[in-house]
């Protein structure tokens, strides 16, 4: 996972589970959907999805099957399991809580800064 994206493996897991929460998809489709929904802001290397997909499969959070005929180009499609759905709900909850806390801290600091600046301007006036 490239560090400059600000994304770690946990975030990538949340993204994959969220995309699969809307239905069955294959690897490329997942990558494209993450890109589309984030409007190109979350640029993970496409290959990074596959180790994570294997991990989630190992943890039985997702399941996969081949579609297409043997011999021709086949695609492996992934879908959430029941435990995957529960895991997704937990991830979403944890993320909302985290994002909310971050937002509150940042907003408060900004308020304080704005007040200080306004006070400074009044003082100089």
């Amino acid at each position: 996972m490239p560090k400059d994206d600000g994304l770690n493996k946990k975030h990538a897991i949340t993204l994959i589970l969220a995309v699969l929460g809307d239905g069955t998809r294959h690897g490329y489709d997942i990558a494209r959907e993450v890109e589309r929904r984030s409007q190109g802001q979350l640029n993970l290397p496409d290959g990074s999805f596959y180790p994570i997909l294997r991990q989630l499969e190992g943890e039985e959070l997702i399941q996969s099957t081949w579609i297409g005929e043997e011999g021709s180009r086949r695609k492996r499609v992934y879908s959430l399991t029941r435990s995957g759905e529960a895991e997704l709900a937990q991830h979403v909850e944890a993320w909302r809580s985290f994002a909310g806390a971050m937002d509150r801290v940042i907003t408060r600091k900004t308020d304080w800064l704005v007040r200080a600046l306004l006070l400074g301007e009044r003082f100089h006036a």
């Binding site: 294959h26 690897g27 490329y28 990558a31 494209r32 290397p45 496409d46 290959g47 990074s48 596959y50 180790p51 994570i52 294997r54 991990q55 190992g58 943890e59 180009r73 086949r74 695609k75 492996r76």
Partner: protein, 264 residues
């Protein structure tokens, strides 16, 4: 009549120009070879084939999208591969996932495969050093092989180092060489985070040796082993494991079954 010998001259053109000859299919094959070759020996053939097939499908899908955007087929595939990520790093990520989630056996699953290797090799070295230590105490130089008599000496004397017996030299030799041997073996077997695995597994070994050394007092050699493990085995073992793992991984990444013109 002698058979005609084909002489192949090395391609001395810049890499970009060499790549210009490759078709998109060859570019994909080249990349997938680099992606899957380091996994040989760890990941079963069936799993590697699955990765290869999925990655190929992905690369072709992405290249098709680039093609729609107006890129030439070869450029589209090159961009697709670039977007997929560095093959060596992805192989490493895939292998790490595989080792973490496919390990067999309860102990290995609990410890993690890398830690299990480190514990196995360094544990053996610690056991071997203790064996030589005890043989040295039980059979000091010029002693007869009367076992019962020698055991009495074991309690009584805090023996100085060295005492000139063959066991002393074996004991000192194993204490000196152990981090190199065990570190190298660990690095060869556990190519991912080998140094970290050595660090994690050396700590319980050091603590165990320390308590054993205290139990062996007034003979101080047990504590000497604990000290050597802390000051010598731990740093040298970590470093050796790291170097061995890096060498092994580099060799694996260099492996290929078809001519590769560029390490994508």
């Amino acid at each position: 009549m002698s058979a005609a010998k084909i002489i192949r001259f090395p391609d001395l053109r810049p890499k970009d120009q060499q790549d210009a000859d490759l078709t998109p299919e060859e570019l994909v094959d080249d990349y997938l070879e680099h992606l899957c070759a380091p996994l040989v020996g760890w990941v079963p053939y069936r799993e590697r084939e699955r990765l290869r097939e999925e990655a190929r499908s992905h690369l072709e899908g992405r290249a098709h999208a680039y093609g729609i955007d107006g890129f030439a087929p070869q450029e589209a595939m090159r961009r697709s591969i670039e977007r997929f990520g560095k093959s060596a790093r992805l192989s490493e990520e895939f292998l790490e996932t595989w080792l973490n989630y496919q390990s067999q056996g309860k102990i290995v699953q609990k410890l993690g495969l890398n830690n299990a290797y480190a514990l196995f090799f360094f544990g053996q070295m610690a056991a071997l050093s203790y064996l030589f230590l005890n043989l040295r105490l039980v059979f000091p130089p010029s002693s007869s092989l009367r076992f019962g008599e020698s055991v009495h000496r074991f309690d009584a004397i805090g023996m100085p180092l060295p005492d000139g017996s063959i066991w002393t030299y074996l004991f000192l030799g194993i204490v000196f060489l152990a981090p190199f041997v065990a570190g190298w073996l660990t690095g060869r077997m556990a190519v991912l985070h080998a140094a970290r695995a050595v660090y994690h597994m050396m700590l319980p070994i050091i603590i165990g040796t320390f308590f054993l050394g205290v139990a062996l007092l007034p003979s101080r050699e047990g504590l000497f082993v604990a000290l050597a493990e802390t000051l010598w085995w731990l740093p040298v073992g970590c470093l050796t494991a790291h170097v061995a793992a890096a060498v092994t991984w580099r060799r694996r990444c260099a492996y290929h079954s078809i001519p590769i013109r560029r390490n994508l």
